[in-house]
């Protein structure tokens, strides 16, 4: 995708230089802008890209109001029923899958974020044996194809005789989330001036006070980003989950299975709700950031 955007930017730049040549026309002649190829190509391309990106989301949202019977492919009329009775269809299977996904996401995120943050701090702040080896190994879960990772884990659980349920899913998710947490938090720790923690120690802060009052608050933006990323990855994961879930249903797994016989509109409802929730979260954080910037500016 980014390559295409770059290509569009190059096209735009080309048209600009063309315009400059136009401006060097005869003195006194009215400056008329000839509409170049780039003048409409870039906007048109941009709009097309957005439409392309938005169609699946728009479809999901619109069809959550479809008065569907069995499959939810053709439009049959507008209704709020799907939104109002989201948990009453198929014995609440959609809602159960959704709830499982949320629980798995939350637990895996908390564990992965706590462990990952500790690992990131250790990797940046301390020199110990096998430090570089550990750094490298942490990249492996990100580099390995999910199918391999999922199948490998499933084989281990089988060999150990561990029954596959929610716990095995949480273990699997925690494992691959840790890598992403370490990478995200490590960047933040590296940019943290060690003198700040030293100043904390110098000002009579015990090691735990220094961590909770200085290190942790300063790492918070990185930790939050890591946690959001973890949750999104966990909530979204299908491949690894499918290998290690046994009979436990998660939201992606439910959708995948029901896709073969027609996805119920309730799935659209849940997906739309998640999407709206994410939008509200982003907008709220932007507003609060703007308000804070304004407050700080006022102090000057």
């Amino acid at each position: 995708m980014s390559g295409e955007v770059q290509a569009a930017a190059v096209l735009g730049g080309f048209s600009e230089s063309e315009q400059q040549e136009d401006a060097r026309g005869p003195v006194g002649a009215p400056r008329r802008r000839r509409l170049g190829l780039g003048d409409w190509l870039l906007p048109a391309y941009t709009i097309m890209a957005f439409v392309f990106l938005m169609i699946p989301i728009a479809y999901t949202f619109v069809f959550s109001f479809n008065d569907s019977i069995k499959s939810n492919i053709s439009w049959r009329g507008f209704t709020f029923d799907n939104w109002l009775n989201v948990c009453n269809v198929e014995g609440g299977a959609v809602c159960e899958a959704f709830a499982n996904s949320v629980i798995i996401g939350l637990v895996a995120t908390v564990i992965a974020t706590a462990l990952g943050t500790a690992i990131a701090i250790a990797l940046v702040r301390y020199r110990f044996r096998a430090r570089s080896v550990i750094s490298l190994l942490l990249f492996l879960p990100m580099a390995t194809p999910e199918v391999v990772l999922g199948a490998g884990l499933a084989a281990q659980f089988l060999a150990l005789g561990v029954p596959k349920d929610m716990t095995t899913i949480i273990l699997a998710h925690t494992m691959f989330c840790i890598s992403f947490v370490v990478v995200t938090v490590k960047a933040r720790v590296s940019s943290l001036d060690p003198a700040l923690e030293e100043a904390g120690r110098d000002l009579y802060g015990s090691p735990s006070q220094v961590f909770w009052r200085i290190t942790f608050p300063l790492l918070t933006p990185g930790i939050i980003a890591a946690a959001l990323l973890s949750f999104a990855l966990s909530f979204d994961d299908f491949i690894i989950t499918n290998f290690n879930s046994g009979s436990t249903s998660t939201f992606p797994k439910y959708i995948y299975i029901s896709a073969s016989r027609g996805i119920p509109a309730e799935a659209n409802v849940v997906a739309s709700a998640v999407f709206l929730f994410a939008i509200v979260l982003v907008v709220a954080s932007q507003i609060s950031r703007a308000a804070r910037a304004k407050r700080l500016a006022k102090l000057d």
Binding site: D193, A195, L196, E198, A199, G200, R201, D202, L203, Y204, G205, S206, Q209, V210, R213, I214, P217, L218, L296, L299, D300
Partner: protein, 399 residues
């Protein structure tokens, strides 16, 4: 000494046989140092000489490889940083960006559970004239203001020992003077012991009662600023603390009062009492402002060294004084600082001149330039030129 209460007064600091090795290099070879309570002590040296490591050892941010650290007679070598009655003003200030100015200043008091932390913090901010900015974040302050907050955050704790790591380095000249004065005033009021680390000889000399010149992990010479300047004992001190004209030669005559050195065929006399070595090859020197420039050969005198004739290589007029670089042939070059008591320079570029100085102003060093590879040969014309260029650059930066 508990950190739960304020220090009554400054405490003396003793470093006994300190050695600090890092993987790959030794920062401090062997250091013994006693800083009396209530003094303003400066550790002066070039970057990499081990002065900042010394400071960090005292603060408890590094552990010595060997040796003991005593504060007020108590051995603190094995105590952690937060258990020592010591506070540091960091070179980078290290203000906590997520706290307001007042929260920064009150941080140490709150950790020690000292009553009325906020009141005392405001008082400290008033001392550095920043109480009106108490609710700001550090990043909303100028560099000079941040520095004063860092200072307030340290002194509010009334430590027995205050460590300053080049705290005035980032300030402009005017603000630096102001802060120097403030530090002196605070020290006199509160009676703390100050340990100041700097590479700025002027800062060290104007502020400290005692200056220790450090080089390559060891103290070269220690004493009152004037004493160090007037009677340097090593080539490093002679060149690092101000500038020196150094001549190396064989001792040819020694009496109880005077030592005569033959340097490249010229006889130079220094007082025996001001010479560290009395036989063999020695380096003798004189400060540039003690040297007088003559356009005619002066009459010989028993209490002056007269050298010449030589040629003026360079003249640089700086208003109050003029610097001349004189080529004396086999003796090398001599730098002369002359006050402009008349109008303009007295000797033109390329003219023939003689130089002279009072014998009592000369000094004899313990080592010679380039000896044992420990000290760089700093008496070459290129290094004098480089030194002068550096001082010009720093003047420009300060201006």
């Amino acid at each position: 000494m508990s950190v739960r209460e304020f220090a009554e007064r400054g405490a003396d600091l003793q470093l006994v046989g300190i050695q600090k090795r890092f993987p790959g290099f030794t920062a401090i070879e062997e250091l013994d140092l006693t800083i009396p309570a209530g003094s303003f002590f400066a550790l002066l040296g070039p970057s990499g000489c081990g002065k900042t490591t010394t400071l960090r050892l005292v603060a408890g941010l590094e552990e010595p490889t060997r040796g003991r650290i005593l504060i007020g007679g108590t051995d603190v070598t094995d105590t952690k940083s937060h258990e020592r009655p010591v506070n540091t003003v960091f070179q980078s200030y290290a203000l906590f960006p997520h706290m307001t100015v007042i929260e920064n200043v009150a941080f140490g008091l709150k950790r020690r559970r000292i009553g009325d932390a906020l009141g005392k913090a405001h008082e400290a901010l008033r001392l550095v004239e920043l109480d009106h900015l108490a609710q700001r974040r550090p990043q909303q302050l100028s560099g000079g203001q941040q520095q004063r907050v860092a200072l307030a955050r340290a002194i509010v704790n009334r430590p027995a020992l205050l460590l300053l790591d080049e705290p005035l380095g980032a300030l402009d000249l005017k603000l630096r003077r102001q802060m120097q004065l403030e530090l002196k005033t605070i020290q006199e009021e509160v009676g703390l012991t100050f340990l100041h680390v700097t590479h700025d000889q002027e800062e060290a000399m104007t502020m400290a009662d005692t200056v220790a010149v450090m080089n390559k992990g060891a103290i070269e010479q220690m004493g009152a600023p004037a004493e160090l300047y007037e009677l340097p004992r090593t080539v490093f001190v002679a060149n690092f603390l101000g500038q020196s004209n150094l001549f190396t030669g064989e001792v040819v005559d020694t009496t109880s009062t005077a030592l005569t050195v033959d340097a490249g065929g010229t006889r130079i006399v220094v007082p025996t009492a001001r010479a560290q070595r009395h036989r063999g090859t020695v380096a003798v020197g004189v400060r540039p402002e003690k040297v007088t420039l003559h356009t005619h050969e002066p009459a010989g005198s028993a209490d002056r060294n007269v050298v010449g004739p030589g040629r003026v290589l360079d003249v640089s007029f700086s208003g109050v004084s003029t610097q001349y670089l004189v080529d004396l042939g086999a003796l090398g070059t001599v730098l002369v600082f002359a006050q402009n008591v008349g109008f303009g320079p007295v000797a033109a570029l390329g003219s023939e001149v003689w130089v002279s100085w009072e014998i009592m102003h000369g000094f004899g060093l313990d080592d010679v330039p380039g000896e044992a590879g420990r000290f760089p040969a700093d008496d070459s014309t290129t290094s004098i030129a480089a030194q002068r260029r550096d001082s010009l650059v720093s003047e420009l930066e300060e201006g």
